[in-house]
């Protein structure tokens, strides 16, 4: 059970010097019909930075991450990955949706882990990891399997390589999903509520893998409800509500000295639920 201090005691060394961002979103907006779910969002992710996005359900956190990966096309604004515009291109003076191959190429540096794992059930754990290595990187079966086993070892699941997802626990499935994303050697990882679908006792094994990734210098954007984890691992925490970024800053500042009433209310509710 996390304590009040768990969200106010960052362990990592925070980076201060700005550099060229790997991911940069400017003024992005997204609506589903009449419902505006993202409004004028600016977001930067610099190399080796870990940013946790927190906020109440329905605040637009997951939609933001999905727009940054162009799994949801954003309506306006721009998302650049390594300086390249993601999802759109200029044609005849108009902004049009880019070809799928162009979208794939621009977001190649991004790996993504989903709340519900989304492993391919007809493939073993190892095959889940090697599939893209073979299809995209054109590795031979032997090389792909060697690489895949290395990734499964990294997440502590080498002994489950031959198992189908149906025989793995939730935590193991999520670790395979992380290995699958890591196999493509991404420069940045997006995590969309990676522990929300897990039994409480399985959360730790996934967070441990993510902590190790952060320690290794992986750039990460993490949508999470794990406030203790955000406090310990994040360089920066972004608080969202009603499709807007309300506050953003170092975790110790954000959690100890929230500026907005909405964040104060959110943190109080969290403390009441987790400490009482």
């Amino acid at each position: 059970m996390p304590t009040a201090d768990a969200i106010t005691s960052p362990e990592t060394t925070k980076r201060q010097t700005p550099s060229k961002p790997i991911v940069e979103a400017r003024g992005i907006g997204k609506s589903f019909g009449e419902l505006e779910v993202l409004s004028d969002i600016d977001f930067r992710l610099e190399p080796s930075e870990v940013v946790c996005v927190i906020g109440p359900s329905g605040s637009g956190k997951s939609t933001l991450l999905r727009c940054l990966a162009f799994l949801e096309p954003y309506d306006h604004g721009s998302v650049h990955i390594d300086g390249q515009l993601l999802g759109y291109e200029q044609r005849g003076g108009m902004r049009v949706r880019a070809r799928e191959s162009h979208i794939d190429a621009v977001r190649a540096p991004v790996g993504m882990v989903f709340q519900h794992f989304h492993l391919w059930p007809h493939r073993t754990a190892l095959e889940n990891v090697t599939e893209a290595l073979r299809l995209v990187n054109r590795l031979s079966r032997r090389d792909a399997e060697a690489e895949g086993m290395a990734m499964l070892e990294r997440v502590g699941l080498a002994e489950r390589a031959g198992h189908f997802p149906e025989s793995l626990s939730g935590g193991q499935k999520q670790r395979v999903a992380i290995a699958r994303a890591l196999a493509m050697q991404p420069r940045v990882m997006f995590f969309d509520e990676p522990t929300s679908a897990l039994d409480p006792e399985l959360v730790g094994e996934v967070l441990d893998v993510m902590k190790q990734l952060a320690h290794d210098g992986m750039t990460m954007a993490i949508v999470t409800h794990e406030m203790g984890f955000a406090a310990k691992v994040a360089d920066r925490v972004v608080f969202m509500d009603q499709g807007r970024i309300v506050e953003s800053g170092a975790p110790e500042t954000l959690f100890r000295h929230p500026q907005s009433e909405r964040l104060k209310q959110f943190l109080n509710t969290w403390r009441e639920r987790h400490i009482d």
Binding site: A69, L71, E100, S101, D104, R107, A108, V110, G111, M112, F114, H116, F117, H118, L119, W120, P121, H122, R123, T124, E131, A132, L135, V136, F164, P165, E166, K173, A177, R180, A181, M184
Partner: protein, 218 residues
């Protein structure tokens, strides 16, 4: 009935062979075109979905006997002369393509969108995602309705006798009119149809058991 089978088995087997050639050709071609049509029906482009939907509605919504006659009489009208057996294979293919596409479309709809997103995020192209991630699961999921469709086509192939293809039904009619034993002859034909369909159902059940592993969707 046994007497009919024993005395006329060479022609009955020949008729049955034609039935199998026509049906299995149509089923195999329908499998390829059915998958492609299912992709069209699930396309995110309306200009692709709309004509695919129109095709499916026509071939699913009109009687197969009418379709046979239309194809048989229409092709010569536009200067294409084909043998009756070719017209029969063509019609059954066009018909089963519509039904198989709907089976595959429902199978594709059962694959969680997140699996496809995971593939796209790994850089796997849309085509490779369909080939390696979606369709292997769809074939497993749709094996029972696909077996039903195969059996339906095999039975519907009896209608091609109307365009003078000498398959099992037409051969039976010829034997019945020669021997004046219609009941025994048609019973013999029924036994042959039933035997083939039972074998197909057994093969399908065997495949279903073999492919059952790794099908749980999250």
């Amino acid at each position: 009935m046994l007497e009919i089978l024993l005395n006329h088995y060479p022609v009955l087997i020949k008729g049955l062979t034609t039935t199998l050639v026509v049906s299995l050709s149509a089923i195999a071609l329908g499998l390829v075109f059915g998958v492609l049509l299912a992709f069209g029906l699930t396309s995110r482009h309306r200009w692709v979905r709309w004509p695919c939907g129109l095709y499916r509605s026509f071939w699913r919504g009109t009687p197969i006997l009418l379709q046979l006659l239309l194809v048989f009489y229409l092709l010569p009208e536009v200067g294409i002369e084909v043998a009756p057996i070719t017209a029969a294979i063509l019609t059954l293919t066009l018909n089963t393509t519509a039904f198989q596409s709907e089976i595959f479309r429902s199978g594709i709809a059962h694959i969680p969108a997140g699996q496809i997103e995971a593939a796209r995020m790994a850089g796997i192209s849309a085509w490779q995602t369909r080939r390696r991630i979606v369709m292997p699961q769809v074939f497993r999921l749709t094996l029972p309705p696909l077996t039903n469709e195969i059996i339906t086509i095999l039975k519907n192939s009896s209608l091609i006798s109307v365009i003078a293809v000498t398959e099992l039904m037409r051969v039976s009619e010829q034997i019945a009119s020669r021997t004046f034993q219609p009941l025994e002859t048609y019973l013999a034909a029924a036994v042959l149809y039933l035997a083939v369909n039972l074998v197909l159902a057994q093969i399908s059940a065997h495949l279903e058991r073999r492919l059952a592993g790794g099908l749980a969707t999250e």
